[in-house]
Symmetry: C2
Subunit: 334 residues, 2 copies
């Protein structure tokens, strides 16, 4: 039996898409309980929406919510009464084994770090996601939570990324560092210094520099970068895949004959879209925290929400803190 | 009548693909003369290969070539006798109106800066390319020539990018700054400081922060970023578009019926590939130099070479130095 807490406020489409997603999720997973944090004005609606699942849903009414415009620096003064802080507190106090939020990433970083704390040796958590590739999924971090990153921080990200991957996948991860070239002379000082440290710390995991066009090859388990480049690479890919989808649909509906044969090609295109769609891989993890924190995109629709819930539950099921700490400790003290 | 100089050494596929591309290019453009720089060991082969076009091709034998492994720092000692330096000198001394190189980008930066010099107010040239988008092509810079970039340098890139776009397209460009969010509070200090300066310097051109997923929207003419993020965003897009092509071909050849109908869908897929393929947009410009310098990818095949030659010629035809300098001066002294 698992319990996860969901902050449904702060998304672009409002909390109702999250309610729908939660209901379907409860139906598909009879072993799960949910804690749903809402602002007062949605409390009654939430109570009646989940009335039929009362035994497995607890509604948590809160004073405020975090908006996309709120500055992370104000969080510790104004954010502690928010839905976001409420779900984090449920997790911190052991009433939930993981949390999902759709809100402001910067705020989630600050509040999660304050309420849950970071794991030993981790200055700040990193935002990570599993990217679809030709072969196995790629755990990529950081994706925008840390913009100006030192060599030491890149190494910290590598340690938590490798430890997490090791515990989740039970195999030695292949870890790369994102750079503008594969040669050891390429890149910024930070990236080159981090590479030197990684060669020493995790010679069994670290396999060298990887470039942007290696992202989708599927040769790696973990890819480390700073939040600025990571965020832009990921979003550029999302933008391109959306444009390609549009082009495929318009090209294939361009002639009456192809339109008429859509039963033949539409499934092929749908398979490709499913394979590459970021919505199916909608959840991002905040790694380095003492807990399981998943963030879903502000634009998340019902489907993206459900994927994020499933993703959170998968991470909660496989979360093994003693093993994670042991592996992290081993890497940090190499 | 135009003359351009081509450094054919240093590409992954050797100089012969470049010879073929040059020959076809000469055939399609009877108004063009070429200067082809080769190392001594290819001089005879080049002479006989271009024997039938002798009146329009001059072979320039050189002592050495730049390799991908050469460090940019050594260029000013060892690189001046190379094919790359030779074509730059032809341009500098007015015997060629532009140059194309397939070699090491770092070396090209150093040699071009040394031999041609930079335009007033430009510390270093930036690597730029025209990216295909939903609407008009996007001039994006820098793409990897400058990794650690200050706010002032981002502003310099914006000035040369905007001036170049204005002169080439004869319309007021819409210029954006790549960032992790659209809000003014987002991003690194450098990016935010550059944004403040751009609002003051070019209020008529600068339209704000743009994110990675805006790259392919087609709303902008010029997008400014540092070389690290720019390189990774561009290559991530290339990697994804390659993978998508592969998936399309394999999905559509998966069933005998779709295979049999390939005459119907293959042209649609080919059109999409042509639209997004980086090979068709194979040339990158070094902007900020006192000259027209195009760099093509180390992996360039014959087709990519020809596109790069056509691209170079288009830039040479439209290069209007007095107007470029006037516009650059106007922006710098705002």
């Amino acid at each position: 039996m698992f319990t996860v807490a969901v902050d449904v406020m702060g998304g672009d489409l409002g909390p109702r898409v999250a309610f729908q997603a939660c209901k379907k999720f409860l139906k598909s997973r009879p072993d799960v309980h949910l804690i749903v944090a809402v602002t007062q004005d949605f409390a009654d609606e939430a109570e009646s929406f989940f009335a039929s699942r009362k035994s497995r849903v607890r509604i948590l009414p809160c004073e405020t919510q975090i908006s996309m415009q709120d500055k992370p620096a104000q969080m510790l003064r104004q954010g502690l009464k928010s839905t976001m802080a409420a779900v984090l507190r449920e997790h911190q106090q052991g009433r939930a084994q993981g949390i999902l939020s759709v809100g402001n990433t910067g705020a989630l970083m600050v509040l999660a770090r304050h309420l849950l704390g970071t794991l030993p040796g981790m200055d700040r958590p990193a935002l990570a996601t599993l990217l679809p590739t030709r072969q196995k999924p790629l755990l990529m971090l950081d994706l925008g939570a840390n913009l100006g990153v030192s060599a030491d921080q890149l190494v910290q990200f590598a340690c938590i990324g490798a430890a997490w991957s090791k515990v989740q996948c039970a195999a030695a991860p292949r870890l790369g560092l994102l750079n503008v070239g594969r040669e050891s002379t390429k890149g910024t000082d930070n990236v080159r210094q981090a590479a030197e440290q990684l060669q020493r710390i995790m010679p069994d995991y670290y396999v060298g520099f990887y470039e942007g066009d290696d992202l989708y090859r599927g040769e790696l388990d973990v890819l480390i970068t700073d939040g600025f480049a990571g965020n832009i690479a990921l979003k550029a890919s999302e933008g391109l895949s959306e444009w390609l989808s549009e082009q495929l649909h318009s090209e294939f509906r361009n002639t009456w004959f192809l339109r008429w044969l859509s039963f033949l090609w539409a499934p092929a295109i749908a398979r490709i879209e499913r394979r590459i769609s970021p919505a199916r891989h909608g959840g991002a993890l905040l790694l380095g925290l003492d807990g399981v924190v998943v963030k879903t995109h502000g634009k998340s629709n019902e489907r993206a929400y459900r994927h994020a819930l499933e993703y959170l539950l998968q991470k909660v099921e496989r979360f093994d803190k003693p093993r994670l700490l042991a592996e992290l400790n081993r890497l940090q003290n190499h």
